[in-house]
Subunit: 306 residues, 2 copies
C-alpha cells in the first residue's frame, strides 16, 4: 500500500568499533523506501541504536542484511557494556506511523521473527505488543540476567524462545522482536518549588497508581529553575492524548494553587500527537490529515522516490 | 538549499478543452522536485487552477515550459468565461512553505517575471507582496476591466506593465505574477441562530473594520444547522495565528452569551498553522519542527527524490 509507514529502532551490541558500526548501518542507506533517520553509538553502553522510517518490506530486507553483518562481526562471548542485552542484534521494535495499525505491526513482528530465525539461526523472543505471553510484554523479563544468564537458562520452559531452538546462537545470542506504538516523552513544568506537588500529580495521572492506562510519570525537582516537573512517557497518544493528560494535570495543580509554567516535548513526536491537540482546543470538526500540505507532499514523494 | 519548499498556484485561461488542459499540466509532472498536488478545470470559469509544491528552480522551469504550451493553444481574443482574467497565463503566485521567507518569494517573483517576459514576450504585472506600487498589491486593480479593457488601456501611465513593453501579447494578453503568504480559510460556528452576532464579531476581528491586520471575515447564517458562522481568510497565519483569532472570537461571543459550536479548516493548510496552536494551548517551550517525525522524513526524502 502506498504511503504505509513504520518506524523501526533496531539496537545492536556494538558501540565502539567505528568500522563495524558503519558496516552494520550501510544496508539501511541502500534500500529504496527505507530511510535512515539517525544512528547513535554509545561506547559505554557498547551499543548502536538505529532509527529507521519507511515501508515495511524494504525495512525488513535491510534488517536481514544488516543482521548478517552484525553476526559476522560481533561475538557476545566477549561483549561487555553498561546496557542490558541478550544478543548481537539485541532488540527490533516495529511501530506504526502512517496508514498502518498496531495490529499490522504485530503481524510484521511475528512474520519477521520467523524469517529472521530461518535466515540467521538466532532464537527469537517476542515482546511488548508482539508478546505471546503476558509476562513477555515486559522487555526486562525477556532480558532478565542478560546474555550470560539466558545462555544457561534458555532451555527452561519459562525461558524458551518463541521462535527457533532452545539454544543461543554461538556468537550472536538471542534477539527480542517487538511491536509498540510510538512513545511520546512529554514534560509539564509547574510554577512551584514543592516537588511533593509534582509527585502527587504524577501519582494521579500514571497508570501504575490508577491514572491513565498508557501514561508513565514521575515528579521531579528542577532546582535551577525553581520549578518542579511531571515527567512522562505516553505510550499510546491516541488513547491518552496529550491535551487530556495536560488538562488533568492543570485540574490537579489547581488544588494546590499551582499553574503550568511550560511544557516540553522531549525527542521525536509524530505529527498526529500534536495535531490532535490543535483539533481539540480549536474545536475543529471533520478535519482530514490530507488537508495538511506537507502530508500531501509526503504521499506524493513516497510514490515517487528513487 | 535542501528542503526549500514553495507553493505556486498558476491559473490558466482554459477550462474546457481536456486535451489542452492535459498538455498544459504535463510539464508539472516531469520536472524533478516539482510536485503536482492538484489541478482543477472549471468550464464555467473557463479556467485551470494548478497547485504545485516543490523547490523554486524546477517549478520555474516547468512554468516556462507550460506557459509556452498555453500560449500556443489559447487565444484571448476569443476567450470567454465567468472568472476575471487578463491573459492566457492569468496569474502566477509564489508562496513560502518551508525553509524560505516571503521576501525570498518576492525575489523569486521578480526574477521569474523578467525571465518570463524574455522567454514569452508577455507583459508582466507584479501584485500582492511582489507589487512595486501600493495599488498593485490588489489583484483586482491589476485586472480592472479584464483583458478587453487592459488591451486598450495598457499604454496609459497607470496601467503600464512592470516588465515588458506596454502592449498586450497578440494572443496571450498579460500575466500577473505575485508573492503572498499561504492563506488559511477558517470558519468558526457559533451556537446561536442570530446572524447579527456573527456579523458583529466578524466586524471586530477583520482588518477592514479595525481588527487583525491579516484577517478578512464575514458573518453568515447556517440555516440548516441552526447556527451562524464567522467565515474567515487568514492571509498571514504567522502574524495572526489561528488560536489568537479564535480566542478573540470567543471573548466577543461571551458578550452575547454565545459559545463556539465547532471550527472548520477549509481546504489546504500548512502544518505550521496548526502546530502553532498546539504549542500555544499546551504551553510548549523550545519546540523544534524537526522533532516531528514526518518533517525529518520529508527532509530526507527531499534529498533523495528521483
Amino acid at each position: 500500500m502506498a504511503g504505509m509507514l513504520i518506524e523501526c529502532v533496531p539496537n545492536f551490541s556494538e558501540g565502539c568499533r567505528k568500522d563495524v558500526i558503519e558496516k552494520i548501518v550501510e544496508p539501511f542507506r541502500t534500500y529504496e523506501k527505507c530511510y535512515l533517520l539517525d544512528y547513535r553509538a554509545d561506547p559505554d553502553h557498547n551499543r548502536l541504536v538505529v532509527s529507521l522510517v519507511g515501508e515495511p518490506a524494504p525495512i525488513q530486507d535491510a534488517l536481514i542484511e544488516s543482521s548478517k553483518i552484525a553476526i559476522a562481526n560481533i561475538d557476545m562471548k566477549s561483549h561487555t557494556g553498561g546496557h542490558p542485552r541478550i544478543g548481537a542484534i539485541d532488540v527490533i521494535p516495529f511501530s506504526p506511523i502512517k496508514n498502518i495499525t498496531i495490529n499490522e505491526c504485530i503481524n510484521i513482528a511475528h512474520q519477521f521473527g520467523d524469517r529472521f530465525n530461518k535466515e540467521t539461526g538466532i532464537p527469537v523472543f517476542f515482546y511488548e505488543d508482539a508478546a505471546r505471553t503476558p509476562e513477555r510484554k515486559r522487555l526486562e523479563i525477556v532480558r532478565k540476567g542478560q546474555y550470560e544468564t539466558l545462555k544457561s537458562e534458555i532451555q527452561k520452559t519459562e525461558r524458551k524462545p518463541d521462535i527457533g531452538e532452545a539454544s543461543m546462537h554461538h556468537t550472536a545470542g538471542a534477539t527480542a522482536i517487538g511491536a509498540r506504538k510510538l512513545l511520546v516523552a512529554y514534560n509539564v513544568n509547574l510554577k512551584t518549588s514543592d516537588v511533593e506537588i509534582a509527585k502527587k500529580i504524577a501519582d494521579t495521572i500514571r497508570s501504575s497508581s490508577g491514572g491513565f492506562t498508557h501514561v508513565k510519570g514521575i515528579g521531579l525537582s528542577l532546582e535551577d529553575r525553581g520549578m518542579v516537573q511531571v515527567s512522562m512517557n505516553i505510550t499510546d497518544f491516541e488513547k491518552n492524548p496529550i491535551y487530556r493528560v495536560q488538562e488533568l494535570i492543570k485540574i490537579e495543580a489547581k488544588r494546590w494553587g499551582v499553574e503550568v509554567g511550560e511544557a516540553e516535548v522531549y525527542g521525536m513526536i509524530p505529527q498526529a500527537a500534536l495535531m490532535a491537540c490543535a483539533e481539540y482546543y480549536l474545536q475543529i470538526a471533520g478535519f482530514n490529515n490530507n488537508q495538511v500540505i506537507e502530508n500531501c507532499l509526503l504521499d506524493i514523494m513516497g510514490d515517487d522516490v528513487k
